[in-house]
């Protein structure tokens, strides 16, 4: 064996130091990754919860924080036709109560431009997201069960099973699903499942400056949702669809579709 083939002690220490650092970092990263999986959230019992959301139309200011936070948190494509949550602005003129003017430029991501002046118009914002229906039409039609309702009432998609047939997109009455062009599979709001199973709230609720969006646990008797539902006139979107929607709106105007 020639002398120059023998590893130099300094080189050896440098190399092994690098490895120790890298594996340490990888272990930390891995811990971080698996924490998102519910089975790795040891204190979380899915059957103890029944998730939903309350949206208070009167509090929403259309800032778009929720849309931006959602896209950032969940890696939603930055295009103008892919949203897990979006905000619509309704303008209802006094003489045309059933013909609302609705806008959602870039899903409300950039907020809203100043309103054109309409005398006496009623203007409000409607944040939308998956309604995590208890009787989801999207779940019903999926040919392989890639989309499913979790025991805690969240509609999720298994991207490793999704065929990309798009039947669920057709079946959703609320337009909550889109095809992620990167994976060719369907994507939608997960109610930040990776966060709520760790006791955190969703990204959209976290950043809402007015508290217009509230994650609620309908199975938790101490959740303020029960008091809220008792004292407010709440409504779900398209109740005639009988989907068991669990996003409850306070002060929802009848013109909202």
């Amino acid at each position: 064996m020639s002398a120059d083939a023998t590893p130099d002690r300094r080189e050896f220490l440098k190399d092994s130091g690098k490895w120790i650092l890298l594996t340490g970092a990888a272990t930390l990263a891995w811990d971080y990754v698996v924490q998102g999986a519910p089975e790795q959230a040891p204190n979380y019992n899915a059957t103890d919860h029944w998730w939903g959301m309350i949206i208070d139309i009167e509090k929403c200011i259309g800032c778009g924080n929720c849309v931006r936070a959602c896209k950032a948190e969940n890696g939603v494509p930055m295009t103008d036709d892919a949203f897990r949550t979006w905000v619509e602005r309704y303008t209802i003129l006094p003489d045309e109560p059933d013909k609302p003017i609705v806008e959602s430029p870039n899903g409300g991501y950039d907020g809203f431009l100043d309103l054109k002046q309409h005398d006496g118009a009623k203007v409000f914002f409607v944040p939308k997201l998956c309604n995590h229906c208890a009787h989801s039409p999207c779940v019903q039609v999926c040919p392989v069960g890639a989309t499913f309702e979790s025991p805690d009432g969240v509609v999720l998609v298994d991207k490793t099973r999704c065929l990309g047939c798009r039947y669920c997109v057709q079946a959703c009455p609320y337009g909550c699903r889109y095809i992620d062009p990167r994976t060719e599979t369907v994507d939608k709001c997960t109610l930040c499942y990776h966060r709520i199973t760790k006791g955190q709230t969703t990204a959209c609720c976290e950043v809402c400056p007015t508290g217009a969006r509230q994650l609620v646990d309908l199975k938790n008797p101490k959740d303020p949702v029960h008091e809220f539902m008792r004292t407010h006139m709440v409504h779900v979107l398209k109740p005639q669809m009988a989907t068991g929607a669990k996003v409850y709106y306070n002060a929802l105007d009848g013109a909202v579709r």
Binding site: V144, R166, G175, I179, T185, R257
Partner: protein, 398 residues
Amino acid sequence: MHGVEGFMYPNEMELQWSILIVLYPYITGLVAGAFILASLERVFNVAAVKPTYRLALLTALAFLIVAPMPLQMHLGHPERSWEMYVTPHTTSAMAMFGFVYLWYLMAVLVLEIWFDYRKELVLTWRASTGLKRQFYGILTLWSDNISPEALAFDHKIGGILTVVGIPSAFMLHGYVGFIFGSIKANPWWSTPLMPVVFLFSAIVSGIAAVMLIYMVTSKLRKTTIDMLCVDTIAKYLYYAFIVDFTLEMLDLIHRLYVADESLMALDFMVKTKLFVSQIVIQIILGTLVPLLLLASVQFMRWSAGTRKAIYSVAGALIMIGIFAMRWNVVIGGQLFSKSFLGYTTYKLEFATKEGLLPAIIFLILPFLILWALVKILPPWTDARPHAGDIRNGSTTGA
């Protein structure tokens, strides 16, 4: 940018189901219709249509082989489609596709064709040598018993298969209608009439297709067209078309009269974005004109030449009209927002995965398959071999 008028939910701007999904009901409709025509002879003893019996079965098979191809091409992950067979989701109408399809292909169509052709297959097998002999040996499944008892048994089984086949053909296409009709989120699709309308339009398009194929192949083979046969087919085509038209008008009138919340959007669409494909092509050119043409034959005494011309024009218009009907259902159902507050535009591309080019290929492919099937299994009644005359060459066709 997306060709949007009014308001669409942001996720709705791009259409999810393209021209390839238009082909799916169109092609399976041709399968079901061709089979129904074949069963007229077999089950209902309409002897006049016998010249088209085998041609109709082969046409059904050729189109059935192609039917799943556009679906497969459309999937984001075609490599996962087998999961529909191994882990089907039992509440999903779409999950049943594989089973309905396989049942129809293997249990009905292939078996019926096999039993019907068994005698010729055995005779060709016996008469040929080399590779061809091997090939026909495989097709006979090495069963060469063509005794009168065996043939009588074949005939009986064939009859049973046709009887099973009619509800199966109804199921194959009624099911396709159910895929759309059961989507409550979409008022353009959601009606229990959808499977029935699909079924009758399928019968109409399948009968028209076989009638055209029979006339064209007769021309190509320089044989005379059996006028009693085409007259009878045209008569059944006319009857089926009246039922189909009545159902479609019932659907339309019901929508207009009930005038629910979706009517504003749908009414606007038919007057603008779907005006050409729905009003002009589907209803006027594809339905009223051929209906009048077919009716004229029932009430006037045209010469054979005129009748042939009428059948050709009416058949071609029907084929176009039913394609337009599928288009208006599939594409039309995605042009309006589920908020009923706006409309988008379908941009048909050409040489892309879901463009016009693959659609054209999928429409030509069944004819190539049919050509090959006709070579292997000659359907011509004037070319059937006789037991003592098997070496005259007309049996092989190749």
